[in-house]
């Protein structure tokens, strides 16, 4: 180091002036843990019961898990194997767990990784829900009641356990809502950025997030313009600037996902255009219930008091000049409105779970009605305090219990809670279905996997479309997943067109009834299941409970 020329000498200046010290809130982490651990535990227990005791699985959850599994273990491991029909985040979030699947096969075979994923994220949603109420300075008792009623709401608890993407979706939405409300409250940059980033994650989870993004942007523009000072130009600039900061991350999510899909599979919106997407499946289901009235009925059954609570919250917010009410309305309300409109227009299957955001909407808005009640406490008489607390708890309880009761009844109704009824009727009433097909039970596909394993085939020998019912199970259960050529492989299409040329020795074909008719092999070789279509010879038929009838065809050598 350099030589010291002169010894350091303090300046002859007045002594230090104390700078304000802002303590970091540490209690937030503690509170998060207090809610996360018990709720995650509850959902994990539910998930374990569903997966192991009742052998109940949900097709979408298993399919998302299988996509992540292909990404890691298929003949052609690559990121794009995650597929473009579903948004990728639920699958990606399971990758760390699936890396352990070799150690604990139930994670993949029983799809338990998906249950863990939904449990952790739903618990995260509960944590953010509670944190939002804390941000709003809601009195502790009221916040506690609201959070408990949210956490044990039958739809929340069931979807926390069953491995579907609702947990992740609600977690991202609840986070976005929380930070959007912070921004609406204090107008600061960081919450605005966070809200935008969380909505980008929400979009990577489910397309419906687009509605939350749109309504959120409207709220941001309106509030930023209203709050800015100066001439119209300056205010418009503030509004556009804030909307850009809020909207860029979701826009990036939208564009990058569409571009990735377009580059890899040739179409930007696979969900809507794919042979397997919602649109194709809808045309098979022939939904007749799709009316506006029925859509609203489902929303109301999810949270009967949501609408009146929203009106009260809006009126109170107007009086208090509190913009925060717009947060839950834009995020949860936006998604709900989208679900209602899309179903009324017969654009979605109208599952009851699509309306799930009505529950957090009603409960959060109830909390917003009592915003600031934690600070008012000290100034009141003790009896007034007691009355206020009682009223708040009563209202919260009424909103929550009404929502729980109505949702439970809807879930038990086979016309409304179609999926939930299918899976839970057996669990609750102990009914044994006569046919495992479509009963939401794990198929006995293990025997098929073992048979195929016993053939000791080289890589890429069996062509199968993973869209068809049991194929994902067979691939996941097989000891040699690389023996399959599956839909997500980049060379699936050429091999399908010319199995002989690519040394694919077998074709695994489902009975072309119902969803089986969408199977790529059936679509390419329409007669194959009955006749072999002149290119293959049947070697085996599997009639496994819980699966289509599958036939294994050996590809005939080319005659030329």
């Amino acid at each position: 180091m350099t030589a010291v020329l002169t010894p350091p000498r303090p300046l002859a200046l007045p002594t230090e002036v104390a700078r304000p010290v802002v303590p970091r809130p540490r209690s937030e982490l503690k509170r998060a843990a207090c809610w996360f651990v018990p709720t995650a535990g509850l959902y994990l227990v539910i998930g374990a019961l569903l997966a192991f005791r009742y052998e109940s699985f949900n097709g979408d959850a298993q399919a998302r898990l299988a996509n992540a599994y292909y990404m890691l273990y298929s003949r052609d491991p690559h990121l794009a194997a995650v597929g473009f029909v579903w948004n990728p985040l639920p699958s990606f979030s399971m990758v760390p767990l699936l890396l352990l699947a070799r150690v604990w096969p139930a994670l993949s075979v029983r799809a338990f990784a998906s249950n863990i994923m939904s449990a952790l994220f739903m618990a995260g949603a509960v944590v953010q829900f509670r944190a939002t109420l804390a941000d709003c300075r809601v009195r502790r008792t009221t916040a506690f009641v609201l959070t408990v009623l949210f956490a044990i709401h039958p739809m929340i608890a069931y979807y926390g356990g069953n491995g579907m993407s609702e947990g992740l979706f609600l977690f991202t939405l609840a986070s976005a809502c929380r930070y959007l409300m912070q921004y609406l409250d204090n107008g600061e940059t960081v919450p605005l950025v966070r809200a935008g980033v969380w909505l980008a994650f929400a979009y990577f989870t489910r397309y419906e997030a687009a509605a939350a993004i749109g309504f959120g942007a409207i709220a941001v523009v309106g509030v930023a313009f209203h709050r800015a000072s100066g001439d119209t130009r300056t205010r418009a600039r503030a509004a556009i600037g804030d909307a850009t900061i809020f909207g860029l991350p979701p826009l990036f999510a939208f564009v990058s996902w569409a571009v990735a899909s377009w580059v890899i599979v040739g179409h930007p919106f696979e969900q809507f255009s794919s042979d397997y997407g919602t649109t194709s499946q809808l045309s098979l289901m022939g939904n007749t219930n799709a009316t506006l009235g029925f859509a609203i009925k489902m929303a109301v059954l999810m949270a009967p008091l949501a609408f009146p609570v929203a009106l009260v919250a809006l009126a109170l917010a107007l009086r208090r000049r509190d913009y925060r009410v717009l947060g839950p309305l834009a995020v949860f309300g936006g998604v709900l409105l989208f679900a209602v409109a899309a179903f009324a227009d017969a654009k979605t299957a109208g599952w009851f779970r699509y309306f799930i955001t009505a529950a957090p909407l009603a409960l959060l808005l109830t909390g917003v009605c009592f915003a600031g009640s934690a600070d008012a406490v000290a100034t009141e008489e003790p009896w007034a305090r007691a009355v206020q607390a009682g009223v708040a708890v009563g209202v919260a309880g009424a909103v929550g219990l009404a929502s729980m009761a109505a949702s439970a009844s809807a879930m038990a109704n086979r016309n409304i809670g179609r999926e939930e009824h299918l899976h839970l009727a057996r669990v609750i009433r102990g009914e044994q279905p006569s046919d495992r097909t479509d009963a939401g039970l794990f198929p006995d596909s293990l025997s098929m996997a073992r048979y195929l394993d016993s053939l000791h085939l080289p890589h890429g020998s069996i062509l199968a479309d993973t869209f068809s019912g049991c194929v994902p199970f067979i691939v996941v259960e097989s000891k040699h997943p690389k023996q399959f050529v599956i839909t997500n492989d980049r060379d699936f299409k050429p091999i399908l067109a010319d199995p002989v040329g690519f040394h694919a020795r077998y074709l695994l074909v489902p009975n072309p009834t119902g969803n089986g008719s969408l199977d790529a092999i059936n679509r390419t070789y329409p007669d194959i299941f009955r006749t072999g279509a002149g290119i293959a010879r049947q070697v085996k038929e599997f009639n496994t409970p819980g699966c289509h009838v599958f036939r294994l065809f050996a590809v005939l050598p080319q005659q030329s």
Partner: protein, 557 residues
Amino acid sequence: VSERDGSTSPLETPDAETLERWWAGATSDIQRALDSIGAEHLSWSVGLRRRLQRARRAVRRRMARPTVLKIDRRDEEAHLTEAVDGLATRAPTESSKVLVGRRTVQLAVAVVAAIGILIVLSPVNTIIGLIAIVTVIYALVIVERALLFARSLDPNALDLVSDEDARAFPDRDLPVFSVLVPAYREPEVIQHLIRALGALEYPADKLDIKLLLERDDEVTIEAASAVAVNVPIEVVLVPPAEPRTKPKALNYGLRLATGDVVTIYDAEDVPDPLQLRRAAVVFARNGPEVACIQSQLSFSNVDQNIITRWFTLEYAMWFSLFLPGLVAYNAPVPLGGTSNHFRRTALDEVGAWDAFNVTEDADLGIRLHRHRLRTRVVASVTLEEANSDFVNWVKQRSRWYKGYLQTWIVHMRRPVQLWRDLGTRGFVQFNLFVGGTPVLAALNPIFWTLTLLWFTDKPHFIRAIFPGPVFYVGLLCWSVGNFCQMYLWVIATRMTRRRELLLAALLSPLYWAMMSVGVAKALIQLVTTPSYWEKTTHGLYERAKVGRVPVLAGERS
């Protein structure tokens, strides 16, 4: 002689110029006498010297024109030697006089040889490894910037001093500021500079302003001696010598500076009039470990064109977000070139500026930190003129990148020592900020070309050097990374209250392309002329538009 109260000075005589000449002779005689008996470091001698110089200032304040400081020939030589080689003599490892020494060559040869051998042994894997390393650096840089943004909101990051607090600070407790203003071949900005300095709200008897001009720069000297001044300004003529750099002039000026605090302004600067007072308050609020206070820089010609808009936003990010973020992390702060205020003692301790480094400011910031001295950023803006011309901008930027690389090489000569001095976090931040900025700017065009090639042609070699995981991480970095960079610019428009620059922020990727041009030039120059100072032309913007500079009363043309 009354020290405190200049207004009742007995030196107030009509024939001030004669007196001044007498004083100059007398004081330099006394000083030489002190030096010859070897008493220059004794405290009474230092005190006496300061008294004499204050008395000279009091005399000079009455004068209407800047005086040219007369320096004895022997002193001049001593000052010059010290200004050029001071650091290189005392701490050769910290100087970039010999940028690439034997040790550095050995290290570089070893690294190149290792890579060469690996390429021969396994070309594809080596390239994959290199790409993987670069990808990680990219990711780290982006994460680091986002963290700095977030950290800049820390209440401890940026020092705020209100106008009231700045003015309320008692005059008698204010330190003496030596303001050093180096200028070279810029006669057009002298008038403007004098106005800006005249607008400073600071007691004139505590100002020691020194205009540092090169002796052979006759046009500027002429311009300087023709203006009228209402603050004491001394012109210091720096003897012509290589290297022709600003740090050499600063070192020379520092030898003559008498203040407790040394401030650097560029000739075209318009500092906030309260800046010196604010700096004094920040010094007073902090302990002696705070050695430097950096003010914020911005531009007066924001709306001139898209380049000035980008530049303005970049500076806003730099001085309002990144540097305060580094302060909050207690990381080394690469200083901005002007409007920094140093404790005199700290400058002496670390050996002042490296005359051979073309970003002496950034280098000095790092060296201060290595000496356990700290920098703070004060919310006080100095307006400069943004480079509006592409070629001129590239010149300036190439000098900065060259200097950053010089600084990086100098400090990384002894990486273990640096790591000990800065700590792990500071070491990483130094590498990312000082080394990473130019290196990534250089690599950007390569990766953009590869990306374009991949999308258009999908050549086989790209598939080979980007296998599965590397490809995906690279793709993620490319898409998310570029988005994040652009998004940070957009966020900065809000955080720095520069809403009108939103469009420029959205177009910022084009600005990065300009940076890559700059770094290419810098890399070539680093090899060919490491210490050549690429002069930035000022005065491209019509001065009349600058505005808001108070006009001097009784100004003469």
